[in-house]
């Protein structure tokens, strides 16, 4: 299992470097082992340099920078070991418009290998999804879920899917 850990770590590291640069439109992200000569106990550190800035401690990143860096890490794990189901609950909330667009681009790509459910209030993310689940409380305190699909073109073509 030591070898498996080492190979997986290297694979996730490579992916993280690529995905970080894609999500941030530049810069550098990498992961490192805290105890490289003890693979059974070692921890994993994250080090990032945001484009246009010098390398700093993770705690100094802004709210949006943290959310984006964390997303890059999660996507890199998914790349190495896809999950049949991925759920993001308002992960895009701290992101500005430009970063949401990059996030959506990467999510769409991963959406081909896994089933994504993305809870969001952000119009850009909503518009990027072919299917919506409208969640409402038509009766007070009781949740109902109403699926909509896009038929040709954008929102105008959303139809209520009967008896999903």
């Amino acid at each position: 299992t030591r070898d498996r850990f080492a190979t997986t770590f290297e694979a996730v590291k490579t992916e993280f470097q690529t995905l970080f640069t894609r999500l941030f439109g530049g810069g550098e992200g990498t992961i490192m082992l805290t105890k490289p000569d003890n693979l059974l106990e070692t921890g994993v550190e994250v080090e990032v340099t945001v484009p246009g800035k010098t390398k700093k401690r993770l705690e100094l990143l802004s709210g949006g920078e943290r959310a984006l860096a964390a997303s890059a890490l999660i996507f890199s794990l998914l790349k190495v070991k896809p999950s049949p189901l991925v759920i993001f609950d308002e992960v895009d909330a701290p992101l500005d418009g430009r970063n949401v667009e990059r996030f959506i681009e990467v999510m769409r790509e991963f959406g081909k290998r896994s089933q994504f459910l993305c809870i969001t209030h952000n119009n850009l993310t909503i518009e990027a999804s072919p299917i919506w689940f409208g969640v409402t409380m038509q009766e007070p305190g009781i949740t109902s879920v109403i699926p909509y699909r896009t038929t040709g073109g954008q929102t105008a073509g959303r139809v209520y899917v009967q008896g999903n």
């Binding site: 994993v44 959310a67 049949p84 992960v91 993305c118 990027a128 999903n164």
Partner: protein, 165 residues
């Protein structure tokens, strides 16, 4: 392996039987504050066997059962069924479809079913162990939890690499 259908009844705000299909496309879940979006995530996590009420925003095991509303009485049990497409055989079960069902009663009794046959929680964990839906769960990010990936300790982050191995 793919999650095809989710059925929820009596879990949190799902007093009515709620069922939806998933066909692999990206789904945006939208709706006003407090309408039950995060409760869907809790239902799926619970259905996958999440043992700690704390991770489901519940004080104890039975607080996930519908507690009543202005017009309805509390329910006596909560149930979630998850139906997987197992054509590729990645779940160690011999059927092209695999259903996992979890139920909890007001008295705290729990029941688990694998393809409608009663089983133990441990059996569910064994079936899901290598599927990517295992315990470390980097793939399910709850509300306000995105920060946790960076705020986590170096040891906690290591568990994700183990999970992906």
């Amino acid at each position: 392996l793919r999650l095809k259908r989710v059925r929820i009844v009596g879990f949190k705000t799902f007093a009515e039987k709620t069922e939806f299909d998933l066909d692999g496309e990206l789904v945006a879940i939208v709706g006003p504050n407090g309408c039950g979006k995060s409760n869907i995530v809790d239902a799926i996590l619970w259905g996958l066997g999440e043992p700690k009420p704390r991770n489901l925003r519940a004080a104890n095991a039975t607080e996930v059962i519908f507690a009543g509303s202005q017009n309805r009485k509390a329910h006596s049990y909560a149930e979630v069924m998850l139906l997987f497409d197992n054509e590729d055989g990645s779940l160690p079960v011999d059927t092209p479809e695999v259903s996992i069902t979890r139920r909890v009663h007001r008295n705290g009794d729990s029941e688990y079913f694998l393809n409608k046959q009663a089983c133990r929680q441990k059996d569910i964990f064994d079936v899901l162990a290598d599927s990517g839906l295992g315990k470390a769960g980097y793939a399910i990010v709850g509300q306000k939890e995105i920060d946790a990936a960076l705020a986590a300790s170096a040891e906690d982050r290591r568990a994700w690499i183990d999970e992906a191995a």
